[in-house]
Symmetry: C2
Subunit: 148 residues, 2 copies
DNA sequence: TTGTACATGCATATTATTTTCAAATAAAAT
DNA sequence: ATTTTATTTGAAAATAATATGCATGTACAA
């Protein structure tokens, strides 16, 4: 019994969202969305988005990137995560559900999914009378290359 | 094949540690350790330890509690955790291994353990060539009382 | 006792996040 | 095209949590 997969959020969805809700399409939002939704990877810090954005428009500010990322989170277009200390990471909402393997040396992040674990987690929550909304599972260690 | 359980850390162990390493036994450390190791629950914020400590000695500073908690973490007597945002929580090291169920409404924390999940996590890490050092698993939702 | 290295308290520095506000600008109304 | 308006932006400052520098205080060994 598979759930219907949530549609992956794209830049096009975001553009539509802006128009439909009466928000404005700005140069800054366009650049930030392009990087976030179509960029080379899946886990962006605000600082990193800012760096990339400034190559396209040197005047973009941290505050604007910050507010845009928060907007993504609020409207359900992004998930905000905290791995250990340091800054939040943002990833596009609606991709396959997954958890994370994190190398504490080189900070590399590998995504994985394990349906058996998911089921067991649901069981645990149920057994304690919890109505589970979400979970967090992160495995930390050293990756193959960092073990050498 | 059960692993040998790590000895639970106590205030007495801490006292011994201080002496053996040439650190000083101070009134402040004694108060803080008493609260942390023998207090009423298992998940302390620095602020909370400070409040309790000040009932016993009004002059104790945040910095001292902070540094003492950091010492507990460094010497392996405490684990530092971040549930969502907000301040870190500290818990005594060496109790049974466990993960957490967290009520997002009332912030209640329930500890649980599930050996099957643990094994599956180890498998996942191994499959990706990781040498796993630790993991984090938190299930968020609403507890029985908050569902009413 | 007294000396000394470690510990403490206060103040301040850092780091990450969040907000304020005047000026800029997108989009609607003329 | 120009004006109007409400939203958005950038710069700076506020907040929150964590971390540190330093003068003073204190545990403990000599």
């Amino acid at each position: 019994m598979k759930l219907i997969p949530t549609q992956i959020k794209t830049k096009k969805h975001f553009d539509t969202f802006l128009v439909s809700k009466g928000f404005k399409k700005t140069r800054q939002r366009d650049i930030i969305a392009e990087i976030f939704f179509n960029g080379p990877h899946h886990h962006y810090r605000i600082e990193e988005i800012l760096e990339h954005a400034r190559k396209l428009d040197a005047s973009i500010s941290y505050a604007t990137v910050y507010r845009t990322m928060m907007m993504f989170v609020e409207i359900g277009f992004a998930q905000q995560r905290q791995f250990g200390k340091g800054q939040s990471l943002f990833e596009v909402q609606g991709r396959h559900h997954h958890d994370h393997l994190i190398c504490t040396q080189c900070k590399k992040i590998i995504e994985f999914e394990n349906e058996t674990i998911e089921k067991l987690q649901a069981q645990v929550a149920k057994r304690h009378g919890f109505k589970m909304t979400h979970h967090k599972m992160e495995l930390y260690g050293t990756c193959v290359s960092c073990q050498k």
